[in-house]
Each structure stands twice: as structure tokens, then as C-alpha cells.
Symmetry: D2
Subunit: 232 residues, 4 copies
Amino acid sequence: MAKTNIRTPFFVFNPKSYLFGEGLLELVREADTLAEEFPISIFVTAPFADIAAVSSNSKNIIVTAQHLDGIYPDKGMGHVLPESLYEAGARAVFLNHAEKPLTLNGLAKAISRAAELEIITIVCADSIAEAKAITMLNPDIVLCEPSELIGTGKTSDESYVKETIEAVKSLNPNVLVMQAAGISTADDVYRTILLQADGVGCTSGIVKAKDPKKMLRDMVQATVKASNKNNK
Amino acid sequence: MAKTNIRTPFFVFNPKSYLFGEGLLELVREADTLAEEFPISIFVTAPFADIAAVSSNSKNIIVTAQHLDGIYPDKGMGHVLPESLYEAGARAVFLNHAEKPLTLNGLAKAISRAAELEIITIVCADSIAEAKAITMLNPDIVLCEPSELIGTGKTSDESYVKETIEAVKSLNPNVLVMQAAGISTADDVYRTILLQADGVGCTSGIVKAKDPKKMLRDMVQATVKASNKNNK
Amino acid sequence: MAKTNIRTPFFVFNPKSYLFGEGLLELVREADTLAEEFPISIFVTAPFADIAAVSSNSKNIIVTAQHLDGIYPDKGMGHVLPESLYEAGARAVFLNHAEKPLTLNGLAKAISRAAELEIITIVCADSIAEAKAITMLNPDIVLCEPSELIGTGKTSDESYVKETIEAVKSLNPNVLVMQAAGISTADDVYRTILLQADGVGCTSGIVKAKDPKKMLRDMVQATVKASNKNNK
Amino acid sequence: MAKTNIRTPFFVFNPKSYLFGEGLLELVREADTLAEEFPISIFVTAPFADIAAVSSNSKNIIVTAQHLDGIYPDKGMGHVLPESLYEAGARAVFLNHAEKPLTLNGLAKAISRAAELEIITIVCADSIAEAKAITMLNPDIVLCEPSELIGTGKTSDESYVKETIEAVKSLNPNVLVMQAAGISTADDVYRTILLQADGVGCTSGIVKAKDPKKMLRDMVQATVKASNKNNK
């Protein structure tokens, strides 16, 4: 596991491949302001070649890659070299997303290489059995998101959220559990954090909003508000 | 095909995943000086997250990605977005390297997307039949490199070089033919260009040389010298 | 290329993974009767482990595998060994189907291994550029089926059919061109053969028909009828 | 998990793709005799298209596929349909072999589909962390075989064998633990069973032996002998 402190509940803005270049940087700057203003960790993902620019245009967010390969500097070609990501400023990475599934062996190696460089791993699980399997590989964060809900605007139901948290924490209480399936409004964020998720994330709810910056702010505020209520 | 002018015979320095960060930039600066000094195109590859830095530290080389995926900006996750590469400064890309083989359909889409952005495509072929198949997909450059020779220091023999050039050019005379298999000395470069290759490339011959900068310079000079002899 | 004589226009019944065991054998027996009755080649595909039973329950059809891997008898594990298919009775194989895309190198090797065993190769192409690329690899049959039409009941339009035939034959007149996209009625079969396709194929139009045996017979008869009209 | 009774310690003869057709059947018949003679389960793997013949030429062995895909009967093409394997006689399957690695999601689905059909799953793990992850997916047997030892003739050392057994059993005592890395002599078999492995397996030690039938018999006898010693 990475040693970087994660301030929970955290928020992940994952624009996937919808944004790049200047369009991405606009939202990065807003996220960076929010990460300074509020006492939670904010992760922002970027396409590989945008990571350096995202990093040099922010100070407070955790710059996050969409994937990395568990390779060492060597003859690899066309793969995502962990050292290259780290030097460009990435401090977290998604692994095993439904759009980029990894072999079990590839996932084990990727988590291990990320840990060596203290890059935080956010590993996607499609079911409770997968969440438990992933937990045995020592990730930092398990993202529980049944792939059939991705992009649907339909959130995981309350029992699924509670069951996944229980499944992961009973095996390793240090692993954080994130929920993302179908979160598309600030209210979805609020309700999910109340269910004790360690973090939430969103893609299309933000990038397809009429005012993406405002939606990003609303969601971050909903995270903080739910956290305050949990802590009372 | 991309419209960027390629000054032949070209030289490709492909450090694969051996180099990144400052170690890569040192050789990039040397390659940039050589590209100003000599009348040939010099391509330098970089890991995805290094492309922005390579681009901002050079003016004369053609910044080259190790791979791209034939996707459009959308929900893709963990893939290599062509627009992200382009904005970061990439103007060429390797495709279908033995370390990152593509499906025929994926290769067709990748070539097509690169062409839309005027990114030069260097497509690897493992045999003469593959070189001919690739030529039908309209790449800019076909790299003929039998995978069993990669990294061996053993070059393709003269007849293989001539046969591949003939096979590709007879189908489409506008496609350039590059040779790379096992090129590890300046003399290998010289002999290969004399055989009428449009370009050559090298990895371990440079990165594992005692003095990589000197080896890079020696190989570029060998390219120019052979070209001059060819043009007499 | 395989030396087996293919009597054109041929018909391919490809039940994919819809059928297996006794359910598959029922239609195999009907296809076998039709192949004896009519002067055309009839190919029937089967899941790998059904090939032996399909072969021992037929005499006239060309038993066809859904895929093979271009490997030799050796330490391979989990792959589809060409020799195993051949011994079980397979004499043709689909390659590069949209559901099982192959790398360019894997496809080249698979075609080459099939040719060594005289197994007929039916190679799927998603576009005209791909059809041309595949033709350079020396398959027996190119199946031109834009993947966006598979299973839709919408057939490729007339110009697409003519263009693909022209594209392939102009490169190698010995390669047969098959069409399959969206063929779901005997009339679709009839019209496609009139456009000079060397063969046609169908999946869901047969397996989802009220009376699959009757639909199979109707389609084979439509193939013969169109062929007779073409030959007048 | 499958309900088929496995008589431990079991022995797995895995000829991979070295054998097929009549050459495979010769050893299958010997294994079948041994499985009648001795009170242990003997698994024999076969290429997919050989499974029906192996099944009809044996009564006592557990016929084992080299892989299956976690799909249902449907439009799948080129994949290994579980129902097809079952109908042909397979009652066990290898999954996630180093030669055929599966995505975590694909592995979870394959184990689940096999369990529905009561096909015993033998799932390969490359490390202790992977063995633990796999155990969370409810396989019948975990095969602990560091991929760097496959085919080397070098066995896993005693501490590795003990550690993997402990790691798996502490999570789920019903999961059986098999060892295979580098087992090439009857003595290797004997020593590994003495270390309390639930089962062992061998490939090249048998297929490359001067007298494969004799080696198979020697290894099965060594399994029984070690078992008797353990039970004293």
C-alpha cells in the first residue's frame, strides 16, 4: 500500500477519455481550488499524455492515471511505465476498470509495482467475490461498481454498498472502499457517503452536466456535508 | 497517411521503456541537435507520460509515441487517446510492435485515427506477408523486423531487406520501408541504408552503449554518409 | 490455401454457441442430407468439443471449427490445437470473427498452420481495407461482414457486396468471397448470391426460426436457385 | 464448487498440447487402468476436440479440459462453451494457466459457470497472494505453481509448498491445494505428497520420458505410497 495520506471521505473526478488538453485543465483548476478549500482528498484522472500538464497546473489534487502496467524500465514497448507516470506527477492509478480489465497476474504485478513507487491503487471490482479477491492483493482502495450499472445513472442499492464495505473490511480493515456505480447527482453522492463509503466518484454526471464546474463543486460539497453528518 | 514531410533516409531512436524522465531528456537534447545539424528526419520515442516533456525540450525531432488506441474522446478508460498524444506534442506513433501486438481491426482503426490527426504511423511487420497486409491499411511507414531477431544484435540479411522493400513498394510506392532488426552498430546502419531502406532504427545498441550520446551521433552520421553514397 | 474442393456457391450454417450436443446434431443431420441432395458445399460450424460428434454423424458437410490457434503440438495450454481439430474431423475453420479477433501476427500464423493441414480458412473482415489486408495473407475465403450489422437482420447493401468482391478478386482471383451480414431469410440468401457472392452464411435466421430445419432447407434451396439463375 | 468426489491425494496428468488423437488415447487407457487399480482420483487433460474420444475411451479417470470460457449458450464464437465440454464428457477444467491467463472478471465467471455444471475447477496461481485471491472465488482446487518454474524440472521448495497450503486452507479449508512446479520424477511426486499437498501433476516429466506409460505408473504409485506413509 501507498503511504500517501488519504483524507476520507474522498472524491474522485474521473473524466475518462472525455476530456484532454485545455478542456481538462479547466476542470482540474476548479478541482484544485476545491481540494484547497475542503478537508477531503480529491483525485482527478487524466489520459497518460496529459498527466504532466495536469500536475503542473495543480497543487492540491491527487493526480491519477487511468491504468499502469506492472513492468520495470526495460524493453517494454507500448505499455504504461510506472516510473514515467510517477515522474510526470501521478500519485494514484485506477486498475482493472471494466474498460481495461487485467489478468489476475497482471493485476497482482501492477499493484505491487505501484506500491513500490508509493502510487495509490484504486482497483475496480465487478462483484462481491471480486472485491474480496482484490482485497487479498493489498490495494489501497477497492472500487465496487457492478459493470452493468456503469454510465446508467442507476446507483448500487443500499444493501450492495453495505455488503461490499463489510466484505472488504472484514478481510482487511485498512483497505478503503469506494462506490461509483451510476452516481450522477450531488444527492447520489450525499446518500452514498451516508452509507459509510470511504469515497465516491463520478464521470458523466460531471462531464455531461450543463455546468460541469458547478456540478463538480456541488458533489464535493455533498461529500463534505454527508461526512459532517456521519461524524456527528 | 500523415502529411508531415519525412526527410529520408530517416533515423529512429526508440529507447522503449529503458529511459524516462531526465535520463531520456539528455538523449532527446542530443537527438534534437543532430536533427538540426543533419538533413534527415530523426524520430525519438517516449513513454506516454514523458511525451509532453520531450516535446517541450526539443524543436527538431519528431516526437513519437510507443502506441495509440484507435478510439475517439469518450468513455474509454486506460487506453491511449490519440488527441491526448497530439496535444502533448506527439507527431508519430509506433503500432503493432511485437511487445504490443494489435488485432487486425484494432490496427486498422488506429491507423485511421492517426491519419485523421496527421500523426505519422510506423507499423511493425513480422514477415513479408504481414508487411503486405499492413500496406493495404495505408500506413506511412512499414517497419520490417522479424520478431525473432529483436534485441539479438543479428540483422536481417540483405535478401530479406530487399524483398520487404520490393513487397511493400510494389503494392504502394508511397509507403516508406524501415528496417530495424538487430541494428546495433553504426556500421549496421550504414549497410542497411545502402540497401535502400528508407529508414533505420535502434534501441539497445544506443541505450546499452558505453556512451549512448556518441553512439546516437555515430548512427545518425552513418545514415547521412550512406545516403550521400546512395545519391552519388 | 487448402486443396479441398469447394463447390460454389457454398452455404455456411454457423450456429455459433447457440447449439451443442443433441440439439446441434439434429440440424447437422439435416444439413448432411441437403449436402447430399444439392450440388453445393455446405459448411456447418460446431463448438470445439462437439466436432468429433458432428463429424461422426455426417458424411457430406464440411465440418468447421469456430477458431484455431496457430500453434504446433507443444506446451500450449488452453489454446485450440490445429492437429486436434483435424483428427476430430474438422476440415474448415473460421478465423478473426468479431467475437474472437486475432492479432495480425496470430492471424498470419493461424492461416499458415491451417494451410499445412489443408484446413479451409474462412477469415472475417470488418471493412474493405481489412478484406484487402487479409487477402495478402492467402486465406481460402474472405467473409465480408461489417461488424455493426452482425445479428441485426440488416444486410450489407448491394454496393458493399460488389465492392468487397472486386477488392478481394483484384488482388487474388482465387480467394473466395463470402457475405453474411444480417442474412435472415431465404430471400436474403437469394439476392446475395445473385450479386455474385461465392457463398453466404447464416446464424440466428436459422437457430431462432420457428422451424430451423425448414429454414436451413429453404436457404440452401435459395442458394441453388440463385446459382442456377446466375449460370443461365 | 463441484460436488464430484475427489479422492485425495489426486494425480493430474496434463499432456498440454504435446499429445492428441491416438497418441493421447494410449496414455489415457493406461491412466484409466491405474485409476481403477489405485484408490486415488486421476485427472487427464485433453485438447478440446479430443475430449469426446478421451471420454469414450475411459471409465475411471476424470476427463479434464485445458480451459473454458464463462459464457452461456448464445452468439459466442470461437470461445470454449462449458455445455459443449460437459456433453463431450469433461468433468474438470484448468483455469488461468500461465499459458492462458484470465482477467479477474473472466476467471470469476468461468469458475461460476463451471460450478453450475458441476465441473471441477483447477485454478492456477503464480504467487501466494494470487492463491489467496483465487481462494476467494471458490474454486475446487488451487494449483500453486510459480510460473518461473514451469517446465524447468526445478520443484517449488518445501517452504513454498507449506506456505501455499497454509495460505489457502486458512481462508477456506475445503479448497484443495495442488503442486506441480517442476515435478519430473516419481521421487518429486513422493516428496511433494509427503509435504501434505492434496494433489500433484506432471507434463513433460511424462510425455518426454523414454517410456511415458511407465513414468505415469511410477508417479501414480509414488502418490499412493506417499499417501500411505502420511496416513500411518
